[in-house]
């Protein structure tokens, strides 16, 4: 089943809190220099079309139900990438006194691949996506 995703990965970018640093790096991935479309990647606008969810940011309490819903709206088979230090571990937002953060992405939905970095370089993002594509 995953071989189909491998050949045509459609990615939905779910922004869950965070500064917009990671999202700008994602745009760079689709630009002339790192062009992800070489691999057939397509950025889609609705989770219903998506195969891979790319989640950035430290999921605030307010965004948590929406992220869960986006995950449920993505048809099987699906994969999730948690991106940035925020996505992996809440990054700079982690703090015992931070009342508004629901936790890193893998505490809310199952995560397949994590891409660390604040923000990760486009090379790292491409590496992460390829890792997902190669997964069985």
């Amino acid at each position: 089943m995953s071989s189909r995703i491998k050949k045509s990965p459609w990615i939905y970018h779910a922004h869950a809190g965070g500064c917009v640093g990671c999202d700008v790096e994602l745009l760079a991935c689709m630009g002339p220099r790192y062009d992800l479309e070489r691999l057939g990647v397509r950025w889609v606008a609705s989770p219903r079309y998506a195969d891979i969810l790319m989640v950035t940011g430290p999921v605030p309490l307010h965004t948590k139900p929406f992220l869960e819903r986006v995950y449920a709206q993505t048809p099987e088979p699906k994969r999730v990438i948690a991106m940035g230090a925020c996505g992996c571990s809440c990054g700079v937002f982690i703090d015992d006194e931070n009342y508004s953060v629901a936790g890193p992405v893998d505490r809310i939905i199952p995560v397949d691949v994590k891409i660390p970095g604040c923000p990760p370089k486009p090379e790292a993002i491409i590496e992460g996506i390829i890792k997902v594509l190669r997964m069985k």
């Binding site: 045509s8 479309e37 057939g40 219903r48 048809p75």
Partner: protein
């Protein structure tokens, strides 16, 4: 034997799908190249060989993947939600039977399509049928984005149908016939206004960039197709591929056609379709999106004027001043 070759137009849907895939790839590639990107690679480097060897069939991979995915049907959706895409696909397949493919030979087999004395009218209805079924399916999902997309689609269709019909009727006046086969010829020279009007109408029908308002990804999340997923989305994707071919082929037949024998007809036809596909790709890459009011205003003014000029041109050419 004679009967078998007469039925060669039954292959049209298959040809439409195969050539349509190439056109779709071409569209993505041109889009990427204009933005100085690479686009889907023809040969992947060695370290990526295990992922895929060539992306030439990328549209096919997309369709294959969508057909293998789970389909989610929202609980608000009515049965038309599933019927819509299937109806659209059947209209599109029927449409390919009426668009001549490489009509080089003589007799019924040489026409490359079913042909009646009024086949142009059937083509109009089938084209509207595809759009209407997508509207029905989309709005049946009860999604708000689909509702906005549906309204935009209808407005655009109303504004677009006049130039399209007038533009093709200009050819009908010249040929004194409503049969697509009899209108075929290199009409780009004889009636350039009609060619422009019809080309713009084709862009609108295919939702190419200045006119992709009904499915504007960035604002209304895909419009009518927002709620579709998995197999139903795959069917819509196949419909898109077939429509891309059918409309490019219609343009080649009506405006770029030179009667040639046998294989030359095929070469000319496929070359013409690729040229039209490339032109569509460039327009797609070079323009930004219209707002809906701008688009309808522009279509009502410029495009309608263009098609009226085409009609006047044809009338003068036919009956003299």
């Amino acid at each position: 034997m004679q009967a078998a070759t007469d039925l060669v137009w039954l292959l049209n849907p298959v040809i439409a799908f195969v050539v349509g895939l190439v056109l779709m790839f071409n569209l993505r590639k041109v889009f990427a190249r204009v933005q100085s990107r690479r686009g889907p690679l023809l040969w992947l480097p060695d370290r990526w060989k295990d992922i895929n060897r060539s992306k030439l069939l990328q549209p096919l991979y997309d369709i294959e993947k969508l057909l293998s995915k789970k389909t989610i049907i929202p609980h608000t959706a009515t049965p038309f939600f599933t019927a819509g895409p299937i109806m659209a696909l059947s209209f599109a397949v029927l449409l390919t039977l009426f668009v001549p493919v490489a009509a080089g030979g003589t007799g019924a087999a040489g026409k490359g399509a079913v042909d009646f004395a009024f086949s142009l009218v059937i083509v109009f209805y089938l084209l509207v049928g595809v759009t209407m079924s997508i509207i029905i399916g989309g709005t049946a999902s009860a999604s708000l984005f689909a509702a906005i997309g549906g309204v935009r689609e209808i407005e655009l269709m109303l504004a677009n149908e006049i130039p399209f019909i007038l533009g093709t009727f200009a050819l009908a006046i010249t040929a004194e016939s409503l049969s697509v086969h009899e209108m075929m010829g290199f009409n780009l020279i004889f009636n350039p206004f009609a060619a422009m009007a019809v080309f713009i109408a084709i862009l609108v029908k295919l939702h190419i960039k200045p006119f992709d308002i009904p499915e504007a990804d960035a604002e209304i999340v895909g419009g009518l197709t927002t709620e579709y997923s998995g197999k139903l989305l795959g069917i819509l994707e196949i419909t898109k591929v077939i429509m891309l071919f059918a409309l490019s082929a219609l343009f080649v037949d009506l405006f770029l056609w030179v009667p040639l024998p046998g294989l030359w007809a095929w070469a000319w036809f496929l070359g013409g379709v690729l040229v039209v596909g490339g032109a569509i790709g460039f327009v797609n890459a070079l323009f930004a999106r219209f707002r809906i009011d701008q688009a309808t205003k522009w279509l009502f003014r410029f495009s309608t004027l263009l098609s009226l000029t085409a009609i006047a041109f044809a009338l003068i050419g036919r009956y003299g001043l």
